[in-house]
C-alpha cells in the first residue's frame, strides 16, 4: 500500500513537471539555409581555343560562385569549391573546378549547384563560343619580319630570347600571349631550342624554324637565322 501511494505521488510530481513545458515561437537557435543562388552573368561569351579538351579549359573561363542566405539574415558568398556543379548539356558546357570550361558548341545549358546530393539551385546559362582563327608569334627581343609566306628574324649565337603567341578570334578579338593548349617546337635544336613558355636559347650558327601549334590545327612559324655577332 505504501509503494502504491508513493507511485501515485511520483506520477503527480511527473505530471506537474511535464506541465511546465510551453511551446516557443522563437526561431531555431541554429541558423538554417534559406536559399543558395548561382551568381554571375546569365550569359557568357567565351573566346575558346579549346576544341575537345574538356580537362584543360581554354582562354576565357567563367568562374561560378553562389550566395547562400541563412535564416538569421546572414549571407555567405563564394562557395565555388564547396558545391558540386553540373551542366545538363555537356556538349555546350562542362564545369571543371568550379569554372565553365568552353567547348566547341555554342548553346544554352542549365547549371545546377548541389551539396551532399541535394540540388539547391539551377540557372540557365547561354554560352557563345568564339573560336580561334589564327595565332601569331611576337617578341620584344627579336625584330620579326612578317610576310604572307613566312616570318623571319635574325638572332645571335649563344643568346636567349622570349617569344609570345598572340591569338586572333573570329570576332577579331586579339588575345595576347596564349599560354594554354599550345606547343612550341624547334626544327634544329643545335641552332635553337625553345621551351614550353616560348623561351629560346640559341646555340651555333645556322637556321631553325620555331613553330607554335594550337591543337595541331592552328599554328604559326618563325624562321630564325642565327649568326655570330
Amino acid at each position: 500500500m505504501t509503494y502504491l501511494k508513493l507511485s501515485l505521488l511520483s506520477f503527480s510530481l511527473a505530471a506537474l513537471m511535464l506541465g511546465c513545458g510551453t511551446e516557443s515561437d522563437e526561431p531555431p537557435l541554429v541558423p538554417e539555409i534559406v536559399s543558395i543562388e548561382i551568381e554571375g552573368e546569365a550569359n557568357s561569351v567565351i573566346h575558346s581555343i579549346v576544341i575537345t579538351d574538356t580537362a584543360n579549359p581554354g582562354l576565357d573561363t567563367t568562374q561560378l560562385y553562389a550566395t547562400v542566405t541563412y535564416s538569421d539574415g546572414s549571407v555567405a558568398t563564394g562557395l565555388d569549391s564547396q558545391l558540386n556543379w553540373e551542366s545538363n548539356d555537356t556538349s555546350v558546357i562542362v564545369i571543371v573546378n568550379g569554372q565553365i570550361a568552353p567547348l566547341a558548341n555554342s548553346g544554352t545549358a542549365a547549371i545546377s549547384a548541389s551539396y551532399r546530393d541535394k540540388i539547391f539551385t539551377k540557372k540557365e546559362k547561354t554560352v557563345t563560343i568564339i573560336p580561334l582563327t589564327e595565332v601569331n608569334i611576337t617578341s620584344t627581343d627579336l625584330a620579326i619580319v612578317y610576310a604572307m609566306d613566312k616570318n623571319t628574324s635574325d638572332a645571335n649565337t649563344s643568346s636567349s630570347y622570349s617569344l609570345k603567341a598572340n591569338g586572333r578570334f573570329l570576332d577579331n578579338n586579339i588575345t595576347e600571349n596564349i599560354s594554354s593548349n599550345i606547343r612550341w617546337s624547334s626544327s634544329n635544336s643545335t641552332v635553337a631550342t625553345v621551351d614550353i613558355s616560348g623561351f629560346i636559347t640559341t646555340g651555333i650558327e645556322g637556321n631553325a624554324t620555331i613553330t607554335v601549334s594550337v591543337f595541331d590545327d592552328i599554328n604559326s612559324s618563325l624562321d630564325l637565322n642565327v649568326t655570330t655577332p
Partner: protein
C-alpha cells in the same frame, strides 16, 4: 518492536538478494545551448525505461532508454523527438531507514529528428553524472528520486559555407520506480 526490526531486516536482506531490476522514470530537463553569440534554454520532458544489475548498496550497472521532446525549436522549425541510450555505473550506500543514496557516472548517445535542409537527424553523445536516493518500499520495489547532469556534444551541422559545432549541458531531475527480481 523486536518483531518489526526482524521483519525489516528480513525484507531488506531479501531485497539485497535481488540483483536485477527494471524500472521507469519521468524526468524534466533544462538544457542550455550556445551557438556563437546566441544561446538558448530548452526544456524537455523525458520518459525513461531502464534495466540494471547489481547491489542497491554497492555497485550496479544500468542501461536506460529515453524519449525526449524539446518544448522549443533548437535546430529547425520542426524539431522532432530525441531517443537516447545511456549506460551508467552506480555506487549506492545503505544509510538505514530503507534509504539508499547513490552516485552515478556514465556515457550516452542519441539521435534527434530535425527538419533541416541538409540533415534529417542529428546524433549526439554525452557524459553523464549525478546522484539520487532510493527508498525501498517493499521487497521488490523502490522509489527513486535524483538529479542528473549531462554534457552533450552534437553532430557537426553543415551550413555549406560554414560548419557549426554545438555543445550543450543539461540538468534533469527525475522520479521513478524500480522493480527488483
Amino acid at each position: 518492536m523486536r518483531i518489526l526490526l526482524v521483519l525489516l531486516t528480513l525484507y531488506i536482506s531479501l531485497f539485497a538478494d535481488k540483483k536485477g531490476y527494471v524500472g521507469f522514470s519521468i524526468e524534466d530537463s533544462t538544457e542550455y545551448f550556445a551557438v556563437g553569440e546566441r544561446d538558448q534554454f530548452a526544456s524537455a520532458p523525458q520518459f525513461k525505461i531502464k534495466g540494471g544489475y547489481g547491489d542497491i548498496s554497492g555497485y550496479a550497472v544500468e542501461a536506460s532508454f529515453s524519449y525526449m521532446d524539446y518544448a522549443q525549436n533548437v535546430f529547425s522549425e520542426n524539431d522532432g523527438a530525441a531517443l537516447m541510450l545511456d549506460i551508467t555505473l552506480y555506487k549506492g550506500w545503505d544509510v538505514g531507514y530503507s534509504l539508499y543514496p547513490y552516485l552515478g557516472v556514465g556515457i550516452g548517445m542519441g539521435d534527434m529528428k530535425v527538419d533541416r535542409q541538409l540533415e534529417s537527424s542529428l546524433t549526439f553523445s554525452s557524459f553523464n553524472f549525478g546522484g539520487g536516493l532510493r527508498y525501498v518500499i517493499s521487497n521488490t520495489y523502490d522509489f527513486d528520486i535524483g538529479l542528473n547532469y549531462k554534457l552533450r556534444t552534437w553532430q557537426t551541422i553543415s551550413l555549406v559555407a560554414d560548419k557549426i559545432n554545438v555543445t550543450s549541458h543539461l540538468v534533469n531531475p527525475y522520479i521513478g520506480i524500480n522493480y527488483h527480481f
